[in-house]
Symmetry: C2
DNA sequence: GTATATTTTAGAATAATGTTCTGATTTTTG
DNA sequence: CAAAAATCAGAACATTATTCTAAAATATAC
């Protein structure tokens, strides 16, 4: 199945990025289309994987996950091996794992409750990942913007 | 209004993180509660700002935003000034702006279509932000995990 | 260019869900 | 312990989701 999005699809994606819980009739109204037509488009976007899912954005402070950190990790993985990456991705507090260009190998983003939890995580999880050579941790003092929205043009 | 979440609230948050489009009756069924009760809880979580919003996750490749970069930016802003941060946050392709500890000042995350767009952005936007002293760009080769889910325990 | 196939759409009917209200129950507070 | 506040369930009603069919539009093949 091919991914070929027209302008109507892009508008749908923009609206669902803005508010994933918009009702289908409201969506249809914005597009001046029948609800059945927009519903079918949304379903197809889901099937094609263009829409990966729908998620609520939670205030980290409210659930005691106020500490945000980025960690650069250097490993001695061979190029084909992604064992370290998968081990890192399996950690619940780790939200993102990126393979990056440059001297380091991975950049991860994690949300935690406290420096204590960070140390515990390093001791209990990171130390178990054999191939890790070094880590550089960057602590976020304040987040000015944190959006999941991709700019769709 | 105080933020005091009980176990039921946390379950709601977990479920809405998993699938923001879950119907209220399905939510109620999972919790073995009446729909009216769960609806009221969800509304209150929204009012309190615990739930910030609902968003669809879009495949970046499908909308031609496949290039992910992290940029460390050093500015000569005074401590109280966040003009640079606001200017950066206003750029649509910039998804995140974090004030970080350490030698650099800001870490931003941006999604773009190509290296060309990155250069254009640097020339047309970043160069206009007066206080920027230096930039270090880290290019993501592959994303192993990219989740918006906060681990709620 | 025309015929055929495919996709997209609207409209109607029905099932499912959202929403509001009330009163009962539970929990909190003083 | 009593009063106040919060939470909850159930019912009634409004809104929405979903499915189906046929028409329209679009794409494809000849």
């Amino acid at each position: 199945m091919e991914i070929n999005l027209d302008e109507t699809d892009l508008i749908i994606l923009r609206l669902l990025q803005e508010d994933a819980r918009i009702t289908n009739v409201a969506l249809a109204a914005q597009l001046k289309m029948a609800p059945s037509a927009t519903l079918e488009r949304v379903r197809k976007l889901e099937e094609k994987g263009v829409i990966r899912g729908y998620s609520a954005g939670i205030d980290p402070l409210a659930v005691d996950k106020d500490l945000l950190v980025f960690i650069f990790i250097k490993t001695k993985d061979s190029f084909a091996d992604d064992k370290s990456a998968r081990s890192l991705a399996a950690i619940p507090q780790v939200m993102e794992v990126h393979h990056i260009a440059g001297d380091d190998c991975y950049l991860i983003k994690a949300r935690l409750s406290s420096p204590t939890e960070l140390m515990e995580l390093k001791r209990s999880r990171f130390s178990k990942i054999a191939n890790i050579v070094s880590m550089r941790t960057t602590i976020v003092l304040e987040t000015v913007k944190e959006s999941t929205h991709i700019s769709i043009d």
